[in-house]
Symmetry: C2
Subunit: 241 residues, 2 copies
Amino acid sequence: MVLEAAAELDNEPTGSGSAEHAHTAAWIATVLRGRIAAGELTPGSKLSEQSLSTALGVSRNTLREAFSTLAGESIVTRIPNRGVFVASPGAEEVREIYRVRRMIEPAAALWGEVTPEVLENMGAIVRRAQAARDAGSVPDMADANQALHSAVVGLTGSESLRTLMDRVLAEMRLVFYAMASAPDFHSHYVDRNVQLVERLRAGQRDEAAAGLRAYLDSAEAELLGHLADEASQDVTSQGTR
Amino acid sequence: MVLEAAAELDNEPTGSGSAEHAHTAAWIATVLRGRIAAGELTPGSKLSEQSLSTALGVSRNTLREAFSTLAGESIVTRIPNRGVFVASPGAEEVREIYRVRRMIEPAAALWGEVTPEVLENMGAIVRRAQAARDAGSVPDMADANQALHSAVVGLTGSESLRTLMDRVLAEMRLVFYAMASAPDFHSHYVDRNVQLVERLRAGQRDEAAAGLRAYLDSAEAELLGHLADEASQDVTSQGTR
DNA sequence: GTTTAACGGATTGTTCAACAATTATTCATC
DNA sequence: GATGAATAATTGTTGAACAATCCGTTAAAC
């Protein structure tokens, strides 16, 4: 049965010119990154070197190299002599996430370069979010929300900050995956995002930044509250399996 | 003839167990990081897998794993089928560095948590910088300067932001190493740093942030100007060794 | 019956040797 | 002096091997 999975996971959309696996390790890293982001590999689950190497059709050494880069992105946690696990962020990680966001996002709103194209893009995103809310699609709402905040950081024009933000948003996704009951977390924030874009469009930078900080504060509080609820509700909180 | 960057380093790792080999790859990564930071491995120099693995007493595979993490920190650049090289940042990288700093540092000054201990620490740092300036020690001045700005980011309380800033400062060091003639870059900024700390102490957050942005603007301009000078002076830009 | 000790299996950490693929270098040829 | 083929050197990747460590189970001791 294991071998079955091996052949099965021979992914790679071969359609258009497959990106030469120039550097297989990097390729494997992106594959795993995608799989974690897609929720196929849930937080806390162990990534066995043997299983994965055969499943992906690469050697253990190459896989380990990929693990090194993923660990550097803190997408994955490495416990010496125990193995690597999909990161499963808790309350402390959530606080750290918002510490970062509370600095970068308002800074971008205050000092970033707001161009008409970016505003147009943001407008499209908030419309998408509104449509998703009307349709009741939580995942689409979450996507749009993350896209908007990623775009906000994009105002900085900095690749590094964008990368950091994307990492942080990926971690957020893990937080949601790790929650048993997904609350309707995003719907109340759609309007705030609309307001944010309006302020940016109107050139009200200070108000935009202040609003962002307030938004981030309440979002963090809500998330932490939910996490605390779940922790108290589920006593034996050790691993889904 | 090839005067490869042959690191003559007798490494006796198995001696009296220094640091736990808990993960040799990580250990090797820190060793290389330190050596690059110390200027022993200069920007652009090639890190041969064979030479380094024997010099450090580890296998090529383990070394490669270390390379992966260093590449993730962009301390090192990997060119497929060519090898890994110590990063040698140019003008574009400098612009990116300041893009990041211009967001993070003022944000930290504006919204970070300024405690008496941190202020005390910053005070000590600026005094160190002043002493270094009086003594005419450029390296000490550079160290103090970087320490101060690292401390500023420390105001955010965020580990991720601190890490990002440290990475950025490490890249700055590489920029300096890559410059043939090291200009007296830091001395004019000592007083600005004094002023910054004073403003933070006085609770003048807005002024501190604005001053920081102005400082970063002029520092970037000066650095870029110097880089341009050197580039026009030295036609053969490629070829450190 | 509970705690402790020992054993065995499984997995990670690391090395080594090998080979394909690519790049760099040498050398003969025009 | 350029051109291009032959050759050497390096990287990319694999597979097997072994030590070290952890985990669960069994055996022993109190």
